[in-house]
Amino acid sequence: MNLTTFTSLRSASLFASLALALTVGPARGADKAPLSADAFPLFESYIKVTGLVPSVTGKDSSYARRFQAPANGSYGIEALHYAKDVSDSTNVSFDGRALSGAEDYLGAFKATKNEVGTFEMGYKRFRTFYDGTGGFFPLNNRWMTLVNPGLHTDRAKFWAEAKIERPNAPKFEFRYTNEQRTGKKDSTIWGDTDFTGVPAYYGVGASALNPYSSNRKLVPSYINLNERQQNWLGAVKHTVGNTDLDFEIVHNSTKSNDVRWMNRYPGELQLFPRQSSATNPPQIYPPETISNQVSGYDRQMLDSKTTGYTGKFETKCTDALTVFGGVLYSKGSADIGGDRQMTQYMPTAVGLVTAVGGFVGAGGRPPYSYKTDKGETNEKVFSYNLGLKFHPQADLFSTFAVKYEKTDVDGFNSVTYTSNSINQTTGAVTPVIVPTANLADRSEKSWIPEATFRYTGIKDLSLYGNIDYRHSPGSEYGNSTGVTTGGGAGAPVISDDNVKINHAHYKFGANWTLNQAVSLRGEIFYKDHTNGFYDKATPGAGFVLGYQFMGTKLTAIVKAQNNLTFTSRFIQQTGKMDTTIDSTANIQSNDTKNYNFGETIDWSPTKQLFVQANINVVFNTIQTAYPLAGGLGNEVLRNADNNYTSGSFITGFVVDKETDASLQYTFYRAGNYNVPTNASLFYGAGVKEYTVALVVKRKLTSTLFGEAKVGYFDSKNDTTGGNTNFKGPMVYVSLTQAL
């Protein structure tokens, strides 16, 4: 633990001690306030000041990511609410928050005048923490980190909104929002390394000695985010007779400039001249000479503007029949851009040469570096729906609706690939500049009929169901040109397909209240999907994906006694998928099983005590190539198991007339991490963690509450080889003052 953290902890501990001391002293002013059933009512206006200090042993950034709180602690105003009636019909309120460290801020003002409307505006911002981890390879305990793994992004939003809501008049709404997301977050697009302990050979007969690649992609990477979105909304709602009308215009402007930084083969550089393939007997490569480092960035830019118009109506024709419908039209265009610059480090006879997109000829594929010259996409969506709500009797409610949607997208992206041919004898660098074009045009028309019903005519029983079906024929054209291993323009990759998508979804359920003590709920669902791409030019050629998923949800709520409730929930979902290539080669590509058992127990043995316990046990597996692949394929990839158990326990109790306390415990366990074979890289989660805390809350005066929380956390992670473990105590204190 560093000194700063310790000093902060000591300060917080003093603060906590003070708060705890206050909580065990006599409650000042307690005699002035009548004792309510709940000693801690919510105040109409109040301010809550808090401090949170953990003392983290281990990976600080992993603590921050797990609890979404900074490892150095945070303090400030956790909540501020002030409301005031400025006249008989007008109310104003202000909400605020300012937590330093967590960088969580809010300032919002709202004014409401009865039968006139409201105006509000505000700004809020919060931080999300990431730990910038990469992968772990246990054969040689390989673990690589970013220089600064404590990453974070900030989401900010400004809004201003006015509503005019006069009685018996059209209701107007105007809203402007400006949202931003900036900062750095980690990425799972990890780079390569040969420092894995898997031996790689060169020389005569090397391939026989070297069935596995030494390359594993576990080098961490991150994305620098810079995104902004603005929305202007105008809406009007009005009721004419039995008809509700709703019209809305939204204009959206989105700009993003996100840059992903990658590092491949860091610390590696081949020898010059390269180790000879004629070496006999074969030798093991020193890992630092297997590959050449490639590092750089991939920038994706977007500047889009979209305007959407939506109109809806709902007419109550009779008590039994309501007709509804709507029309949506949106049109948008976007300037798109990419800028990918991957620098290759290359050994030559005259020394190290670095060049963007560097390569040495056939077999030395350039690492795809390009820049957009000009690109844009255009999108038009037109959809409408029409339906009726049918309520023929009090206990039967049904809807029938149909939606039509037409989507057209087209665009182009003219890019220039920059590669550099490097002569390893002279070190000369010869640029290879290749302009290419990318084109796309697709259209889809969807018909979606839907029916729902709910029947409550049987005593204490509700039956319901939903059926919808999507039929989406369309066409898709794509033309993309890249570069070859020699740096030149490749042959265009062209697809021109008819597309057919059919999707059916069925759901039926029942809710049965047996008596005051027992309620049962059950629901089954089934999805049947086909997604086909059929080559226009070659009959029979194409790709078809099909899947069928079905599932069950069961819930039982049993009030064994007035003060004891058991809530049980079981969810199971199974599904199979299959792919068919060119009408002939078919394979089951997926077999998924998921079982989730949940239980919550609520027990209040006395008025002064409650106990609540929760547990979730999940068995989840996704099976694709294993064991179908056979041979070496089965060593490369196993099933994806995502099993886990999590739970919590909390008991709250009255200590005295002015004091409550609670004990809290949480845990999470996942044991899916398998140690990789030399042929693989497994990612499954293997985690053990728990938290425990004691909370004391005391009414210090009739207008002042104090709260102190002392806890401990411990997290162990096998998937990262223990490199992201963390543990330690934490202290949280708060004071809430009525205003």
Partner: protein, 266 residues
Amino acid sequence: MSFKPRWNKTTLILGGAAAWGLLLVGCVMADRTVIAPPKVADATFVGTKKCAQCHEDLTGHFDGATHSNLALKDSKAGDIGCEACHGAGSVHVKSGGSKGTIINPAKSPETCFACHLDKRGEFSLPNAHPVLAGKVGCADCHDPHKGKVIKRTGAELETPNETCTKCHTSQKGPFLFPHQAMQEGCTVCHNPHGTVNQKMLVARDANLCLRCHLEHPSVIAGGVLGDGKIVAGGEDHRTRLQNGTCWSAGCHEDVHGSNASKAMRY
């Protein structure tokens, strides 16, 4: 300087015993109710009609909402659809709608967790939207008062992915070469409530992609089932998959869609 807290089983046992003793003393000394969330102290059901008197904008369309299928009733108050989530309303009604007399599920997920136990488990995982941290709420994605609780599905006008792309704008597109899975929805690959895997992925390895992209080995020359090949896109990917996932650096990096590579490589 170092600080090593000694938290061990003995500490926990003694601390727990002390806390339990404190509890027993408290139960004897204080005649006051401590409320387990999410409940309203001393309140009784009043029925949905009472709620509609002030909140007609919310109750007016509830008959078509997913949660109306529960059709919850109380022997005295009748329909208690609102109070099933907001808590019994008598104190709220009596106070004229005062703050703190009714539960607002938009500010705490506990109400939703009362029935959706599985979601409590998922949101408690290390890779989840920060609902438990209070930075995102269930109501940010779900509207329990109107229409389907999984919004923009079936015959509703808007498209499903807007629920996600209203915040995740970079994934909105449209891309020249979109990932078809995006059309089926972001939930094909991500569970937005939380998973054991980074980025809320439903699988952290190549199984994620192979569910839809695994092809029969016979699509390549000489390929037969069980020959050790893992075929996708008409190529044997076995060697590449031992290196890493399909979306690792240098492979198919732009998984949401690309504007320059039909194979979504960059």
